[in-house]
Symmetry: C2
């Protein structure tokens, strides 16, 4: 959300702040439409700004993608935190969360491809957000474990990995049904 390179602590000019936001939103839309081969020109057009402006805010295309990943992880972590405040059967809360997140991912090919297709070096740039997500997930799992309703050997990274797998089947592969994939995974998570 604040990926612009700032070398002073001066606040951004109002128009810049507005554009930054607009670019991020357009990027989300364009990446969702075109996956990782979305074009900067398209993002710029969609945002109603010039390419130069995009580059003023994000040093390159990769940075834009990373910003989107980060945003997504932050969203998932926030939802996790929210789930922690609710009361109810912990496993059920987790399942609800996973379904919700999967729907979000499905509406946005960027994440799907970002998670599945890009190299480690991009992945690592969202490490902080991921760690946070992992922490939250761990807490959700702990509660479910205590309640005895989840397979006890499942860790937060397993959840990430399995969901990554579900996301990979979200494209337009003939015959695949990611919702079924998700339900199978959820079934597997349940305590025997």
């Amino acid at each position: 959300m604040s990926d612009i390179v700032i070398d002073t602590d001066r606040p951004l000019r109002a128009d810049a702040r507005r554009n930054h936001q607009r670019i991020l939103e357009s990027a989300r839309a364009v990446f969702a439409r075109c996956g990782p081969d979305a074009q900067i020109d398209d993002v710029a057009r969609e945002a109603g700004v010039g390419v130069g402006t995009v580059y003023r805010h994000f040093p390159n295309k990769e940075a834009l993608l990373v910003a989107l990943m980060r945003e997504k992880f932050r969203l998932f972590a926030a939802r996790g935190r929210e789930a922690l405040t609710k009361d109810g059967e912990p496993f059920g809360l987790l399942v609800e969360l996973l379904r919700h997140n999967a729907e979000t991912a499905a509406s946005d090919a960027a994440v799907q491809h970002a998670l599945a297709g890009v190299g480690e070096h991009i992945w690592l740039q969202a490490a902080a957000e991921q760690d946070d997500l992992i922490t939250v997930t761990e807490e959700l799992l702990t509660r479910a474990r205590r309640a005895g309703t989840i397979r006890p050997d499942i860790g937060p990274l397993d959840i990430g990995m399995l969901m990554c797998g579900v996301c990979s089947t979200m494209g337009d592969k003939p015959g695949f049904d990611w919702r079924r994939h998700l339900e199978l995974v959820i079934d597997m998570l349940r305590a025997p």
Copy 2:
């Protein structure tokens, strides 16, 4: 294996046949190394031929990728057929097959990315091979169902989808362990 455009039924010249094979092998190696952004020039160099020669055998890069996918599906189907000839507990045979295929996929980023990242139109060009694989898988599943050792609601497309998910976690994602992913999936397949 026979993707060269032939407008007569004349057999290929000996050197052409040799080169066709060599190109396919090199493509496999280069795609395995570089994933979908392998370069035709590299394939040509590795095969010890000029780029022109590659293009004489495959109209474009996509065709090369499709040829590799087809080859892979054919291999998996062949292994499935082989499993059908063995005797032993059907579920065990299936598991052995899945593990074997996963190892193969893991040694070859091309498939992994081809399965996960490319669009429907490429996918469809391997439809015949896939259908064959599905048929074989269905037979394996039927036997396991009869033996009562597999979750009865699992179909051949589920297997494909789940394995596609496993493949998607084979990259260099920090903390992911696709072998664990596979074992979790296998566990889920088992009859309750």
